[in-house]
């Protein structure tokens, strides 16, 4: 689960991580008060969406830049007014962009030097890794690719947590080793690791971390994601979830225990198991089609859940065909068959439907489908199913 920059910075404050003063506003009415509270001469206006590359992004109406440094209060208000309710497209949002529903006003500060600092899980070692670089404010993937020697990686043993020697390595590596700088860095690293650990973050990224002309170390940006599996013990984090940033179909699926991800193709799929669901998308593509979604109904999906799955799939206007692929290991094919029949009664399935059932009680499942008199194309195996659905969609077009 991701949160906005302004939310992340509020959490940072709880952990003693220095940021610049900022005020978020969700409506134009709130702009004046928010701007009035900013003390600096320059005012930074930042669009709040769950995607990076905001500064270089462009709004759908042609307005350039999701982050603006403004010289006057009027200019800041003008920028914020252009941003709010507008749709920002960045390299991370895809062409559809994201609507800006919150604008964040920040005090400006001098920037002497920019750094990069992040903590995430290193899967190869199963440890937290602190990634630091003197190359801040730019795309870290590019830095890692072109100048890997400029990336510092420190692996943290979960039994000890962050130790002074870790912090010294980072301090010397970043050139923040003089007494005053290191004191600030040390406190910031302690807070950041404690935040990462206590709040079950999956990633915390400060890009850029800066030093000011006055020698202060400040987190100028904040990008934070959390482990969805740990939200049960972090209700304060769960409360920060912004449903506006998520696809309504994905939210609906989650309510029914389904795992759904919308894609931009036209052939929907309904599958049991995450790996098989991915592989089903792949095989649709392999035979020349384009998958409209990822959908895992899980091992124990009920008839009601399968019906809901159909409703969600069909609420996507791009869907021109459906491939149901069930390997009934745990789940009986009878449940799926009844789900399909039940869904057809509640939902108007007006696109070609190809069903491949295999496994537990497959014959009974096939029988239920056959006796339902629904226009279902049965398939022998996954290749056969994928070919058939791609063909039927092509024929219909």
């Amino acid at each position: 689960m991701n949160i906005h920059e302004f939310q992340a910075k509020q959490l940072f404050a709880d952990y003693g991580i220095p940021t610049v003063k900022g005020v978020a506003a969700r409506s134009t009415d709130a702009f004046d008060d928010a701007i009035a509270s900013i003390q600096s001469e320059l005012i930074v206006v930042k669009s709040q969406i769950h995607a990076g590359g905001r500064g270089k992004g462009t709004f759908k109406d042609g307005y350039k830049g999701g982050v603006k440094v403004c010289k006057t209060k009027e200019e800041a208000k003008e920028a914020a007014t252009r941003m709010l309710g507008n749709t920002l497209v960045t390299h991370q949002t895809g062409p559809e962009g994201r609507e800006v529903k919150t604008v964040y006003f920040n005090e400006a500060c001098s920037i002497k030097k920019e750094y990069y600092l992040a903590i995430t899980l290193d899967r190869a070692t199963s440890k937290a890794v602190i990634i630091a670089s003197t190359e801040g404010g730019v795309d870290i993937e590019t830095v890692a690719e072109e100048t890997p020697e400029k990336i510092i990686k420190i692996f943290i043993d979960p039994a000890t947590g962050i130790m002074p020697f870790h912090k010294r390595t980072i301090g010397f590596g970043l050139g923040l080793s003089d007494k005053e700088s290191f004191k600030q860095l040390s406190k910031l690293l302690d807070g950041l690791y404690r935040f990462y650990w206590e709040k079950d973050a999956s990633m915390v990224e400060i890009n850029p971390l800066i030093t000011t002309d006055e020698g202060a170390l400040i987190a100028l940006d904040a990008k934070v994601g959390f482990d969805s599996n740990a939200l049960f013990r972090n209700p304060d984090i769960l409360a920060l979830r912004d449903l506006d940033e998520e696809d309504p179909k994905e939210i609906e699926a989650g309510k029914h225990g389904l795992s759904y991800i919308a894609l931009d193709g036209n052939i929907a799929c309904l599958v049991n198991g995450a790996g098989l669901a991915m592989a089903t998308m792949d095989i649709i593509k392999h035979f020349g089609g384009s998958p409209a979604n990822f959908l895992d109904v899980g091992g124990g999906a009920s008839e009601a859940a399968v019906t809901e799955a159909f409703k969600i799939i069909l609420s996507d206007p791009n869907v021109e065909g459906i491939l149901v692929n069930i390997f009934g290991g745990i789940m009986s094919c009878k449940v799926i068959a009844n789900g399909i029949v039940g869904a057809a009664k509640n939902v108007d399935i007006n696109v070609p439907l190809v069903v491949r059932l295999e496994g537990n009680e497959v014959e009974e499942g096939k029988e239920i489908l056959k006796n339902s008199n629904l226009p279902i194309t049965p398939a022998d195996d996954l290749s056969d199913a994928a070919k058939k659905v791609v063909e039927e969609v092509a024929n219909k077009a």
Binding site: L121, D227, S228, M278, D282, F327, G359, N360, L382
Partner: protein, 290 residues
């Protein structure tokens, strides 16, 4: 022969008094798997379905029934505690079925595993099966038959797909292992491939991977340097968009890392036959092994 589980396996079920655990434990027992005890704190002294004694702790199950393997169906908030308890009790092999364990908990578990002699399979996995002998977890046993092909996979249903394809083509399996779809797991592809390679009864290997992490690349490197047995592979997630968790917590392409294309390239560079579609997994192996 097989790897990890067989006739000497003595299973304790942690959390099998819940509905899901009970269903599968009973199926495992019906298959002939040697369950010797159940552990559910607070239910010690009772019986599990008139078949097994229930204990309050894994230590008691080890002491009284000689359990050496544990299967865990404990709900996610308490599962890591269950794994750590089994490690502390000296269990040799733990199979954790539970999906949804926080990563932080697994980081602690992984650390404890390194300091122990215990092997963990999973979490978020379908379990392990040596056809004809032993099935621990939630794999459907009817799709498998005893034989010489070792199967290892991060995905449950893709394991079934591969095993079933082998079985209908007349090829049985030595052992089938689901290593789970989480970012931190106990047994890696490389671990499983190494065990299959060293098992004299396993003649060929199928390895099924998916997007996220670099475990498949590491296994490819190991295979290139160490494995003479025929190996076929399949990687799921070629069409997965970057930055999205595809159902499994570990199935995510982060930046340039974890993409299907780089995994397939690494496998092919290691001389491994990569199936073009999930329907061709068994046939891809059978082209290089008969």
């Amino acid at each position: 022969m097989s790897i990890l589980v067989g006739k000497n396996t003595r299973v304790v079920g942690q959390g099998i008094t819940g509905n899901f655990g009970r269903l599968h434990a009973l199926k495992n027992i019906e298959y002939g798997t040697n369950y010797v005890a159940a552990v559910t704190p607070g239910k010690g002294g009772q019986q599990f379905e008139d078949k097994l004694p229930i204990f309050n702790s894994v230590h008691d199950a080890v002491k009284n029934e000689g359990a050496n393997t544990s299967v865990i169906f404990v709900p996610p908030p308490f599962a890591a505690d269950g794994i750590l308890e089994a490690i502390d009790a000296g269990i040799e092999l733990i199979i954790c079925i539970t999906e949804g364990i926080p990563v932080r908990d697994m980081a602690v578990v992984k650390d404890a595993l390194k300091k122990s002699n215990t092997r963990l399979i999973g979490p978020n996995c379908p379990g392990i099966m040596t056809p004809g002998e032993c099935n621990i977890g939630i794999m459907p046993s009817y799709i498998a038959k005893p034989g010489k092909v070792g199967v290892v996979s991060r995905s449950g249903t893709l394991t079934y797909e591969a095993v079933y394809q082998l079985t209908v083509r007349g090829h049985g399996q030595s052992t089938c292992i689901g290593i789970g779809g989480d970012p931190i797991n106990g047994t890696s592809h490389t671990d499983a491939v190494r065990m299959f390679n060293e098992d004299p009864e396993t003649e060929a290997i199928i390895m099924i991977g998916e997007i996220g992490g670099t475990a498949e690349e590491e296994a490819a490197e190991y295979i290139k340097n160490n494995v003479k047995k025929p190996v076929a592979a399949f990687i799921a997630g070629t069409t997965a968009p970057p930055g999205r968790r595809m159902g499994h917590a570990g199935a995510i392409v982060s930046g340039s890392s974890g993409a299907a294309s780089s995994k397939i390239a690494a496998l092919e560079a290691a001389g491994i036959a990569v199936a073009p579609t999930p329907s061709d997994i068994a046939d891809t192996l059978l082209k290089i092994y008969s």
